[in-house]
C-alpha cells in the first residue's frame, strides 16, 4: 500500500456495486435489487463534489458504502475503494470506527430525528470528541464544545449546551449536527440532503455555513442532494446519478451550461419556469375572506384556564377568482396550512368567509355537506393521504358515494375511469392498493380523488414538495391543464417560491399568521415591499439563479 499512500486523491472508488436482497414479491420469488451499479468517482482534498439524483437513484447508498454504514444485508463489491490511501474493504471494524467521525463525518437529512431526545446537547456533542480529548476533563471539553457551537453560528452556545433537542428549532438542530460532525476536524464531510427538511431562509443560512466552514477548515465535502440550485451554488464538481449509475460527471459550470446526457437535460428542464400564468379577465369571485382568524387557546393550570392564544391565522383578507390561482407562501408555522383547513372547515375560524356568496362559517351541517363537494383538497404527503387498506377504485368512488352522485354502479365506474384518464393513469390501477405506487402516481390519484367531484375550488397544500423534481414538473403541468380546462380556482399553499411563481396569478406572503404582503405574482417577485418578503425571496431565488431556470 506504500505507493498509494501518496495519492493526491482523498478517496477513490472504482466499480462500486451495491445490491440488496429483494423483498419477496407477489409471487414469492426473491430478486436482489441493485441499488448502485458499477460506479466510479473520486475526490481531491478540499473539493466539493455533489451527488445529484432523484429518490431511489442510489446516491445515499453510494455515500454510505464509503463509511461502511450500510445494513448487513447489503452486498457490496468494488474493484477499488480507497480512503486516504487505505483500502476500505480491508479495514477492521475498529479501524473503520476511527475513520467514521474522525477523518470522515456525516450530516443527515432529518435534524428532527438525528439527535437523541433524552440527552442534552453537550452530552451528545462530547461523544464525538476523540478519546484523548475526552481525558482532558469536563471543563476543557465544555470549552471545546462551546467553540464548536460558536463555529456553527449558534447564539448563546454556552446555554444551548444544556438544552434538549426539542428546545431547539430545526435550523439550530442542524447546526448542532454540523458541530458534531466537525468535532474531530474531519477531512471529509458527507452531507446527505442537509437542508431538505428546513425552511427556505434557514436553508440558505445552513448552506452558507457549510461552504464557509469548508473553506475555513479545508475539508472536502460530499454533498448529496436533489436540489439543483443548491448544487450550482455550492459544488465544484457534479456527478449526476440515475437508477444506480453515474450518467454524467463534470465541473458545475460546464454541466449546467451544456448538459450532455438526456437525463441531466430533463432534470435541468424540470425546474419550474419563472413566468407566471396569464390572468383571466373578468372572472367572478369564488372565495373571499375578510379578517379571517383562527386562534388556538393555550390552557394552563388545574382548571385549564385559557392563558393565551396561538394566533395561527390572524386577520387574513383575500379574494380568489374562478380560474385563478392564489399562492400562499410562508415558512413552517406561518399559518398557511391552518388557513387551508379553516376554509375546509376542518378548523373553526372566525370572521367572514364567503364561498360563491355563501357564508362558510355560518353554514349548517347539511349545507356544509353539499359545499364540501365543491371545495376539494390535495395534501402534501401522498404517502399518508390515501387509505392504505382501500383499493384505488374504492378511494376514487368514495366521494361519489358520500354525495350520492351517480347512484348507478356502471355510471360511477365510468366516472372513476374518466377521472383516472384525466390524471394520466391507466385503468389497470383500479384494483391495486396505494403502497404499490410511487409518490408521483399517488399524488395523481389524490388529484383524481379531488377532481372526480368536479369542484370549483381546489386547495393544494404543498402538493409537490414531497415529490422529485421531474415528477414535480409533471404534476404542475397536470394542475395547470386542469385549471384551464375546468376554470378551477386554486388556493396554492407552498413554501417553494419557484413553484408558486410558476402557478400563481396572485401571491400572498404569510408570516406568523398575518398577511405581510399581497399582490400580483409579477409585482411581488419583482418589487417586494415588506422586509420579510425580501428576505424570503433572496433566500430562495438567490439559490435558484435565473440562468438555471432559463435553461428549460
Amino acid at each position: 500500500m506504500s505507493g498509494v499512500a501518496h495519492s493526491p486523491l482523498l478517496f477513490e472508488v472504482a466499480d462500486l456495486e451495491v445490491s440488496f436482497p429483494g423483498v419477496g414479491s407477489e409471487f414469492g420469488q426473491r430478486e436482489s435489487v441493485k441499488a448502485v451499479k458499477k460506479i466510479s468517482f473520486s475526490m481531491s482534498p478540499g473539493e466539493t463534489l455533489a451527488l445529484v439524483g432523484e429518490s431511489g437513484s442510489g446516491k445515499t447508498v453510494a455515500a454510505l458504502s464509503l463509511l461502511r454504514l450500510l445494513p448487513p444485508s447489503a452486498h457490496l463489491a468494488a474493484r477499488r475503494m480507497r480512503f486516504l490511501g487505505q483500502e476500505i474493504g480491508e479495514l477492521s471494524e475498529a479501524q473503520m470506527q476511527t475513520i467514521r467521525g474522525g477523518q470522515a463525518a456525516m450530516v443527515f437529512q432529518e435534524p428532527m430525528t438525528a439527535l437523541n431526545p433524552v440527552y442534552p446537547i453537550f452530552r451528545q456533542l462530547a461523544e464525538n470528541f476523540s478519546p484523548q480529548d475526552r481525558d482532558e476533563g469536563r471543563k476543557a471539553l465544555r470549552r471545546r464544545a462551546v467553540g464548536l457551537l460558536e463555529l456553527t453560528g449558534i447564539q448563546n452556545p454556552d446555554q444551548r449546551l444544556d438544552s434538549f433537542p426539542h428546545q431547539l428549532s430545526g435550523g439550530q438542530r442542524q447546526r448542532v449536527m454540523i458541530a458534531m460532525a466537525l468535532a474531530r476536524k474531519p477531512s471529509l464531510l458527507i452531507a446527505d440532503e442537509p437542508t431538505t427538511a428546513l425552511d427556505v431562509t434557514i436553508q440558505a443560512q445552513i448552506l452558507e455555513l457549510l461552504t464557509q466552514l469548508q473553506s475555513e477548515l479545508g475539508m472536502a465535502m460530499l454533498l448529496i442532494t436533489h436540489d439543483l440550485p443548491m448544487v450550482r451554488k455550492a459544488a465544484d464538481r457534479v456527478c449526476v446519478m440515475c437508477q444506480g449509475e453515474i450518467v454524467e460527471e463534470g465541473p458545475v459550470a460546464e454541466l449546467f451550461q451544456s448538459p450532455q446526457h438526456p437525463y441531466t437535460r430533463t432534470l435541468l428542464g424540470s425546474l419550474p419556469s419563472s413566468d407566471s400564468p396569464e390572468r383571466v379577465e373578468g372572472a367572478e369571485v369564488i372565495l373571499s375572506a375578510e379578517n379571517v382568524r383562527c386562534y388556538f387557546p393555550i390552557k394552563k393550570g388545574l382548571f385549564k384556564r385559557t392563558v393565551d392564544w396561538v394566533k395561527a391565522v390572524d386577520g387574513v383578507t383575500m379574494t380568489l377568482r374562478r380560474g385563478e390561482t392564489l399562492g400562499v407562501v410562508g415558512e413552517s408555522g406561518s399559518g398557511k396550512t391552518t388557513l387551508g383547513e379553516v376554509i375546509l372547515r376542518l378548523n373553526q375560524g372566525e370572521g367572514t368567509l364567503l364561498f360563491d356568496g355563501i357564508p362558510l362559517f355560518d353554514a349548517t351541517r347539511e349545507q356544509m355537506r353539499l359545499l364540501r363537494r365543491r371545495i376539494q383538497v390535495v395534501f402534501q404527503d401522498p404517502f399518508s393521504s390515501l387509505s392504505p387498506r382501500l383499493t384505488i377504485g374504492q378511494i376514487l368512488e368514495e366521494g361519489l358515494l358520500i354525495h350520492g352522485l351517480e347512484p348507478d354502479r356502471l355510471a360511477r365506474e365510468r366516472r372513476v375511469e374518466e377521472a383516472l384518464d384525466e390524471v394520466g393513469l391507466p385503468q389497470s390501477v383500479l384494483g391495486r392498493y396505494p403502497h404499490q405506487f410511487s409518490g408521483g402516481q399517488r399524488q395523481r390519484i389524490a388529484i383524481a380523488r379531488a377532481m372526480i367531484l368536479k369542484p370549483d375550488l381546489l386547495i393544494l397544500d404543498e402538493p409537490t414538495s414531497a415529490l422529485d423534481l421531474s415528477v414535480q414538473a409533471q404534476v404542475l403541468t397536470l394542475l395547470r391543464d386542469l385549471q384551464k380546462k375546468y376554470g378551477l380556482a386554486f388556493l396554492f399553499i407552498s413554501h417553494d417560491l419557484r413553484v408558486v411563481r410558476a402557478l400563481s396569478h396572485e401571491v400572498m406572503v404569510m408570516w406568523k399568521g398575518k398577511v405581510v404582503e399581497h399582490g400580483s405574482t409579477q409585482s411581488l417577485f419583482n418589487t417586494p415591499q415588506h422586509p420579510y418578503t425580501r428576505r424570503l425571496l433572496s433566500a430562495a431565488l438567490d439559490l435558484s439563479s435565473e440562468g438555471v431556470s432559463d435553461q428549460g
Binding site: R369, I375, V377, S385, S387, R389, Y433
Partner: protein
C-alpha cells in the same frame, strides 16, 4: 365475492408456511367439527331402531315405550334390559353410536362402585355419579369451545366499539371512558360471580353475560391506541374534507387498520376464555351440576384422587386444546408481524 387485499393474502401465505400453526388449525377444526355432531358420536339413544320391519329414529323423535311393546307411556329407555331384549330379537335391531352413552346418562349396571375404572362398557371409566367420562369429555369440549367462541365474539364487538369511540373522538370522551374502564376493571369479578351464583340459578347464559361484562377491556385498549394514532393521519383528514361522516370514517378508513392487534390476540383470547370457564367450574361457581364440564371433571378428580382416569382424561383434553390454540395463535402472530412484511 369477498376480495382479500394483497396484505391479507400475504399474511395467509405466511400463516400457511408456519407448519405447526397450520397443522394445529386443522386438528382443532376437525375436533371441533366432530364435537358439533356429538349427539351422533356419543348418545344413549340408538341412531336407528328397526322394530317389526319399521325404522325409527330415536335421536329425532322421542317414542314412548309402548311403541316397542313396553308398558309405560314415558319415553323408551333403550338400556332397559326388558326393551333391549325385545329390540334385539325377532329380526329387530338397534344401531348405537360409537360411544353408547350421553353426558348425563347414568350407567346403572356398574361392576364397580362409581367412579369405576375404564372397561369395555365405559371406555374412559365413569365419574362419581356413574356417568360415562368419554361422553362428558366430548360434550364438555364442545361446550367449552362454543362458550369461548361466543365470549370472545361478544368481547370483540364490545371492545372494538368501546375502543373505536374512545380513540376516534378522543379528548373528553376518551378521558371519561378511560376512568370508567378503570373503575369497572377494578371490580372484584370473582366476588360478583359468587354473589350472582347464589342469587340466581347458575346457567351457562348467566356465566356468559357476567364474563362478557368484564372480558372486553383488554381489547379496547389496543383498538383505542390504533384509532388514536390513525385518526390524525392525512387520509382521515382527506375523507373528512370530502364530507364523510364519522361512522363511515371509522368503518372504512380506521377499522381495517385497527384489526391487526385484534386478530393477533384472537386465539389467545379463546384459550383464555376456555380456561376461565374451566376454573370457575373447578371452583364450583360455574355451570349447573348436570352440564358436561371439564372443570367439574377436574374437581371430581381432585375429590377422588385414586380415580386417575378422571383427572388424567380431563387434563389431557385441556392441555391438547389449549396447546393447539396457542400454536395457532403463535403462527397468527408471526403472520401479522409488520416487521416481516
Amino acid at each position: 365475492m369477498i376480495r382479500f387485499s394483497p396484505i391479507a393474502k400475504r399474511r395467509w401465505r405466511r400463516f400457511r408456511s408456519h407448519r405447526r400453526g397450520i397443522v394445529s388449525l386443522w386438528i382443532f377444526s376437525t375436533l371441533f367439527l366432530f364435537s358439533l355432531g356429538a349427539e351422533l358420536i356419543s348418545n344413549d339413544r340408538p341412531l336407528i331402531v328397526s322394530y317389526q320391519d319399521e325404522l325409527y329414529f330415536p335421536l329425532l323423535v322421542s317414542y314412548p315405550e309402548t311403541t316397542f311393546g313396553g308398558d309405560f307411556e314415558t319415553e323408551a329407555d333403550y338400556k332397559d334390559p326388558f326393551l333391549v331384549e325385545i329390540l334385539n330379537s325377532n329380526g329387530n335391531w338397534m344401531l348405537f353410536p360409537l360411544n353408547p352413552h350421553r353426558y348425563d346418562s347414568i350407567n346403572t349396571e356398574l361392576t364397580h362402585p362409581a367412579p369405576s375404572p375404564p372397561d369395555g362398557a365405559n371406555y374412559f371409566g365413569t365419574d362419581d355419579r356413574a356417568r360415562d367420562v368419554l361422553a362428558r369429555l366430548i360434550y364438555g369440549f364442545r361446550l367449552s369451545v362454543l362458550f369461548a367462541l361466543s365470549l370472545t365474539l361478544i368481547g370483540l364487538v364490545l371492545g372494538i366499539v368501546a375502543g373505536a369511540v374512545q380513540g376516534y373522538f378522543g379528548g373528553r370522551t376518551d378521558l371519561l371512558f378511560q376512568r370508567f374502564i378503570e373503575i369497572w376493571g377494578s371490580m372484584p369479578e370473582l366476588y360478583l360471580l359468587i354473589i350472582f351464583a347464589s342469587l340466581f340459578n347458575p346457567s351457562v347464559l348467566l356465566l356468559l353475560v357476567l364474563l362478557s361484562l368484564f372480558g372486553w377491556m383488554g381489547l379496547s385498549d389496543y383498538v383505542r391506541a390504533e384509532f388514536l394514532r390513525a385518526r390524525t393521519m392525512v387520509y382521515v383528514k382527506a375523507a373528512r374534507s370530502m364530507g364523510a361522516t364519522d361512522r363511515s370514517i371509522m368503518l372504512r378508513h380506521l377499522l381495517p387498520n385497527a384489526l391487526t392487534p385484534v386478530i393477533t390476540f384472537l386465539p389467545f383470547r379463546i384459550s383464555g376464555a376456555i380456561l376461565a370457564l374451566t376454573s370457575l367450574d373447578f371452583l364450583g361457581l360455574g355451570v349447573p351440576p348436570s352440564t358436561p364440564s371439564l372443570g367439574e371433571l377436574l374437581r371430581q378428580g381432585k375429590a377422588n384422587i385414586d380415580a386417575w382416569w378422571l383427572s388424567l382424561s380431563a387434563f389431557l383434553v385441556l392441555v391438547i386444546m389449549l396447546l393447539l390454540l396457542n400454536f395457532i395463535g403463535e403462527a397468527l402472530r408471526d403472520a401479522m408481524d409488520p416487521r416481516k412484511e
